[in-house]
Amino acid sequence: MQRLKFFVPIAVFLILGVLLWRGLYLETTELPSVLINKPLPEFELENVYDNQLVAKEDLPEGPFLLNVWGSYCLPCLAEHPTFMRLSENEVIPIVGINYKDQQDAALDWLETNGDPFAFSIMDHDGRLGIDLGVYGAPETFLIDSNGVIRYRHVSVLDEQAWQNIFVPAIEELESEES
């Protein structure tokens, strides 16, 4: 028995090792954000079409989606059809944040691929992105009618993610508000 106690460290270590190994293969794109249930940060940025200033007050009355995109961003094309469908069927308003992009390139991209956004604001320096804790495009935030961030989705929002995550989340929002 006396000798067994010296095997305790290696036993603890093995358990920890297995957990760490499991941890390597976890889905880490889903990040808990500190901004969940916090109001959107203040901002004042230009509209990508006409360079008119847009501030927080000009956002739609929620719930709406805030999508971070860029013309350089290949995964953004993968989620684009979902957004096009949502906007054509008027399911939910979508506001774009054109993240660290060039205005010409952004306009070309919208021209070529279609524009699902109510409007897009240019976050050329990524400052709003910093306030939102954005890691990179694409990311999508769900905002409720009080302007509070309710959900953050990192990476592509395809039909599957829409059905499995956003539809229930929006239903929950609506039941809360009614």
Binding site: P9, W21, G23, L24, Y25, L31, D125
Partner: protein, 664 residues
């Protein structure tokens, strides 16, 4: 062509370290003096070739050789020269090379300063370190080679170094931290050599003490620099965030601190032997865990360098091999260890044991908090986030208890201390500390706060206990000043480091309790007050730096209506990466820091900004400076060298059979 020389040197260093990891250890097991004697030359060889690698990579940076992938990703023609050089450790591959180079530097130091140790022991220590070096170099060659090329289409310019890393503290923070991390590998190697040889006497503890103290000094310095860097560079006014990448160095530091104290008991009294060996292994495991977490993308954090599961798997395998292997060795050998003496329930041994338990529990709870979100996700598939409230709730009380024990430790005696003696020595100390802790904050701030009272009392408790102990040592001497200077360096260093703890407690307590901050939107000419201070915004001017453009604001600060100075916070855009960065302006002082960070500018000329008043924040790093100086002082104690000579003499007399009386 030049980067390929680096590549060759890396491969040669790998070959030499594989030899180093095998021949001397086998030689020691078979008592083959030739094979053992290879340890020192092989160590020198590994060091030389890794130095070549480092110089080659530095050369690639300085000459803007963007055909090297790592240089292209972390440098830019516009980057100032000093940052081109420090960009070597600005990314994953380079910092790993730097880390391995530092390991080889420690190895070289061990091979130089171990002349008086038995050869089989030196061979084993260097062999274990050679094994670690081989593992790191293999990792680089296999998954993260800093010399990888992007040929034939080399980019015309580089992507630039992350702007937050273009800073003096960043030049210093990683090397210092790595020195500390890697230093604990040396102590680990000593412990493994002792386990392998089966000679777990007090001698190995004495040999490793100066190394443990120096590793601890570097780690302390590295943590303090990191916290200082975060404080003024990241611009959120914090100095510690319980970030998943900050935590492993802290865990290593806590375990290393426990190890340092446990080594002292093992050396002086010959007890806690198997515990000390275990701590040496754990401190090393802590340093590897730090690497694993930073390099694998396991935890998401501001520090994350690279997210690549193959790297994670490699490092995890390496941890399993080294830490797992040594824990098995420990389990097999530790039962053979016998303690050499006993001690009673109130003695210095017990206070040091208390210290060890508290430090290890603290390390375990930080580890738990760091890994729990991941473990939770692994088991339940749900996400959870553990923030500062958890860490503060557990860590702060443990440290408070530690400081209480710290007052008793140095003043108590080995083996047995009477309660009457402790009462006589420390009753007045305790009363004075609590009295000052209650009265001082009350008089100065006119309000009572329990946290502040406890913090200030603990600091005074420590300072008075130190003063009392030092006084005891010199009270009966004719010339007290001379007696003070004649105290052993080991003792003075310890008390200096303990004094640093008191200074740090004051800093942490007062900053946490009395800091003020305000986020405001100011138009030029507008002023706002915060505490005793008044900040007036006088507009911004455009500025141009070597590799950035930006705006510089002018803010006039006055205290109670009296003008103090101007502050110039900046908002920069780094040209190459088009990334914004905020340079805060600080008015630093012994008793308080004032600082301002710029937020966003509006069309109207108004700017959002955040103003902070941070009392006593400098004391946090001042405390760390005392600890570092104290640690260096102890490591330089002459005693270690004298005892080394004594050990050597003793061994030689043991080896030589007693001379037979000569017959004439």
């Amino acid at each position: 062509m030049v980067p390929e020389f680096g590549q060759f040197a890396l491969i040669l260093a790998f070959c030499l370290s594989v030899l180093l990891a095998t021949l001397p250890i086998v030689g020691a097991a078979r008592d083959n003096a030739l094979w053992m004697s290879l340890a020192r030359p092989l160590t020198a060889g590994v060091f030389v070739f890794l130095s070549v690698c480092l110089v080659v990579l530095g050369y690639a940076f300085v000459t803007d050789d963007f055909s090297v992938q790592f240089v292209a990703n972390h440098s830019n023609t516009l980057l100032p020269l000093q940052y081109k050089i420090t960009a070597i450790w600005g990314g994953h591959e380079g910092s790993f090379l730097f880390w391995t180079f530092m390991l080889s530097f420690w190895m070289l130091m061990v091979s130089i300063f171990s002349r008086s140790l038995p050869m089989d022991f030196v061979a084993r220590v260097l062999g274990v370190l050679g094994f670690l070096a081989a593992g790191y170099i293999l990792f680089m060659i296999a998954t993260s080679n800093p010399f990888d090329r992007v040929l034939p289409l080399a980019p015309r310019d580089g992507a630039d170094l992350n702007s937050a890393l273009q800073d003096i503290a960043f030049i210093l923070h990683p090397p210092t931290l790595y020195m500390g991390y890697v230093g604990f590998s040396v102590v680990f190697a000593f412990a493994i050599a002792a386990l392998l040889s089966g000679r777990l006497d007090a001698a190995w503890a004495r040999w490793s003490r100066p190394w443990a103290n120096m590793a601890w000094v570097w780690l302390t310095g590295g943590l303090a620099l990191g916290s200082w860097w975060a404080y003024y560079e990241l611009g959120w006014g914090g100095w510690w965030a319980w970030d998943p990448v900050e935590n492993p160095p802290l865990i290593t530091w806590l375990l290393g601190t426990a190890l340092m104290h446990s080594l002292a008991v093992t050396e002086k009294r010959g007890v806690f032997k198997s515990w000390t060996v275990l701590l040496a292994i754990l401190a090393f495991a802590g340093s590897l865990l730090g690497t694993f977490i930073t390099r694998s993308g396991l935890l998401t954090s501001v520090h994350a360098f690279a997210s690549d599961p193959t790297r994670g798997v490699f490092i995890l395998g390496f941890i399993a091999l080294t830490v797992g292997g040594s824990l098995v060795l420990y389990a097999l050998r530790a039962p053979l260890i016998r303690n050499e003496s006993s001690f009673s329930p109130i003695s210095r041994e017990v206070f040091l044991l208390t210290n060890n338990i508290l430090l290890v529990v603290a390390a375990a709870s930080v580890l738990l908090g760091t890994l729990f979100p991941m473990v939770y996700q692994a088991i339940t598939d749900n996400l959870i986030s553990i923030g500062p409230p958890y860490f503060n709730a557990i860590f702060v009380p443990l440290m408070a208890l530690l400081v209480v024990a710290l007052g008793f430790g140095p003043i108590s005696r080995w083996k047995k201390t009477s309660t009457a003696y402790l009462r006589e020595q420390l009753t007045m100390v305790a009363i004075a500390a609590v009295a000052l802790g209650v009265i001082l904050p009350l008089v100065i701030t006119l309000e009572f706060s329990l946290t502040v009272t406890i913090g200030v009392s603990l600091a005074f408790w420590l300072v008075f206990a130190i003063a009392r102990d030092v006084y005891n040592k010199v009270a009966n001497k004719a010339n007290r000043w001379q007696a003070l200077r004649g105290l052993p360096a080991n003792y003075l260093g310890m008390q200096l480091a303990h004094f640093g703890v008191a200074v740090m407690i004051v800093g942490v307590t007062l900053t946490s309790s009395f800091s003020m901050e305000k986020s405001v939107l100011l138009t030029p000419g507008q002023a706002i007050d915060l505490g005793d201070y008044d900040f007036q915004f006088n507009g911004t001017q455009p500025i141009t730096g070597p590799n950035y453009v930006g705006d510089e604001a002018t803010i006039l600060v006055s205290r109670r209506g009296e003008f103090m100075r101007e502050l110039h916070p900046e908002k920069r855009i780094y040209i190459a990466s088009n990334s914004p960065s905020t340079e805060m302006a600080i008015d630093s002082g012994f008793f308080r820091d004032l600082f301002v960070t710029l937020g966003e500018g509006r069309e109207s000329g108004a700017w959002s900004m955040t103003l902070y008043v941070k009392p006593f924040v400098r004391w946090i790093w001042l405390g760390a400076i005392f600890m570092v100086i104290g640690g260096i002082t102890t490591a330089l104690d002459k005693r270690y060298r004298k005892l080394l000579v004594r050990d050597q003499l003793r061994r030689e007399t043991e080896k030589v059979p007693p001379a037979e009386p000569q017959r004439v």
